[in-house]
């Protein structure tokens, strides 16, 4: 498909226009060698996530949060697969999901959040405020609570309970479908709750950096604990450190850097590495 600049009649405009705007904003914001590479990675994964218009829908599963009902979704949503496994009693889906997430996260830890996730990319562009309330550490547990609640609720109700109110689905599927064909659909009772959650999502990501990842993302919760055992580690060389705490100042997840370098909250974005004046932090692959 070749661009003829006729955005009004193009089904990919919903993706292409935000992508161009995002890339323009990001080029000004992503400073440092690793950050430029990260920007290229995030843009690439945004395209890959929506590549069904080239390859068709596949049976692969995203290792990050993206809606598989999105018009050109290439892969499946990990939370959607988890819900189907419990709601449909299709337990074999869990083997696939656990194997894929386990395999990816044992190698890279939670790096997909920082380098691949389109929702993470959107949050990086939104550049929320650097606020850290006293409740922050407790609120971070919310995402684990959501992840733990999904299986029993889906099992008992036999419904895709989280999907009905998922703000990521609202943002990456409902709104694109409406943008492509505003008069082509009617709405179910979940439309308004979903849109309220989308609005809440935007408030959250402008209120705090990576607010969604920190407090609410169940996929992040799924991957977080792999950070401690992953091959890719954020290494801290204490002898080189001059305790300037610039790393703590740029960390979008507002981790207690440099001491919590193995935290499950780290999304391996590498901002701390780029800003460290003494190279006391570095990525390393370790067996």
């Amino acid at each position: 498909m070749i661009c003829n600049l006729n955005c009004a009649g193009c089904p990919l405009a919903y993706l292409c226009i935000p992508l161009a705007i995002g890339a323009f904003i990001a080029l000004k914001r992503y400073r440092g060698g690793l950050q430029k590479k990260r920007l290229a990675s995030q843009l690439s994964f945004l395209l890959i996530s929506n590549a069904a218009f080239v390859f068709g829908a596949t049976g692969l599963i995203y290792t990050y949060f993206y809606c598989w009902e999105s018009p050109y979704a290439l892969m499946a949503c990990p939370i959607g697969v988890l819900e189907h496994a419990f709601a449909d009693r299709s337990w074999y889906l869990l083997v696939y999901l656990a194997g894929l997430i386990g395999f990816a996260c044992i190698i890279f830890g939670r790096a997909a959040c920082g380098w691949a996730c389109p929702i993470g990319f959107l949050q990086d562009l939104a550049k929320g405020r650097r606020t850290k309330s006293k409740l922050d550490s407790k609120m971070r547990l919310l995402k684990y609570a959501i992840l733990l609640a999904i299986p029993p609720v889906c099992y008992l109700t036999e419904k895709l309970a989280y999907t009905d109110i998922c703000p990521i689905g609202g943002l990456t599927a409902t709104l694109p479908y409406l943008a492509m064909d505003p008069n082509g659909y009617t709405f179910t009772v979940f439309f308004i709750p979903k849109m309220i959650n989308v609005a809440g999502f935007f408030i959250l990501i402008f209120l705090m950096t990576r607010g969604w990842c920190r407090h609410l993302c169940p996929v992040g919760a799924m991957m977080a604990q792999f950070n401690k055992i992953s091959l890719l580690q954020l290494k801290y060389y204490e002898k080189k450190c001059i305790k300037c705490f610039k790393c703590a100042g740029v960390c979008p997840m507002q981790i207690n850097m440099p001491y919590d370098n193995r935290s499950g909250e780290c999304i391996r974005c590498g901002k701390c590495i780029d800003i460290c004046p003494t190279n006391a932090l570095a990525f390393e692959f370790r067996w």
Partner: protein
């Protein structure tokens, strides 16, 4: 060493999982569930049965009706009901059809009631039924929209006549409600067997 063991174990689970679940996940991914994102596609109100794809479809010409549909439609009026597990609108439509005494049993093992014995029902678990589930893409306006999708077909003098809508039969967005759906089925019977003449 420990990490290597973890990695190999995860790889084995991943490979085994992909082997048994890849196709199911692909089917789930193909059958876009618009109900899951709080929307249902608008339909075209029934006026007459179609032979070719009507204007609101992406495709043109006569649909590539599968053989099993063609064969069944020679005998009876055919109703295809594409549903999916954990699809709430599908469940609601099924229950409404049951209440109207059109069908009995469950979506999975459902059959038509004696009152409507002129109908051959295919209740198809679209995401998981490899053989018949694929047909949903032939009959949905945007090619891959999800469940429920209801299709009524009959054959007369070698021509297949049909009408389809995606989304719950509840009278909204141009879709018929259950009573209208029954009227359309009756109309199909009349046309197939020339009852009016």
């Amino acid at each position: 060493m420990k990490k290597a063991i973890y990695l190999v174990a995860a790889l084995i689970i991943f490979a085994a999982g992909a082997n048994i679940a890849y196709d199911s996940v692909k089917s789930l991914n193909i059958a876009r569930c618009l109900g899951c994102i709080a929307m249902e596609p608008k339909a075209v109100k029934f006026e007459e049965f179609w032979v070719e794809y009507p204007d609101h479809y992406n495709n043109k010409g006569i649909p590539p009706h599968p053989d099993w549909v063609v064969n069944a439609s020679k005998q009876k009026v055919v109703m295809l009901f594409f549903w999916g597990p954990s699809c709430e609108p599908c469940e609601r439509q099924w229950e409404a059809m049951k209440k109207a005494d059109l069908v009995k049993g469950s979506e999975e093992n459902g059959s038509i009631t004696a009152n409507f014995s002129y109908i051959q029902l295919f209740s198809i678990n679209a995401p998981y039924d490899d053989e018949k589930g694929e047909a949903i893409r032939i009959y949905t306006p945007k090619g891959d929209t999800g469940t429920p999708t209801t299709v009524i077909l009959f054959e007369k003098n070698g021509t297949i006549y049909w009408y389809a809508f995606s989304g719950e039969a509840n009278g909204e967005g141009g879709r018929p409600d259950i009573n209208e759906l029954i009227n359309i089925l009756e109309k199909a019977k009349e046309e197939k067997y020339d009852l009016q003449s």
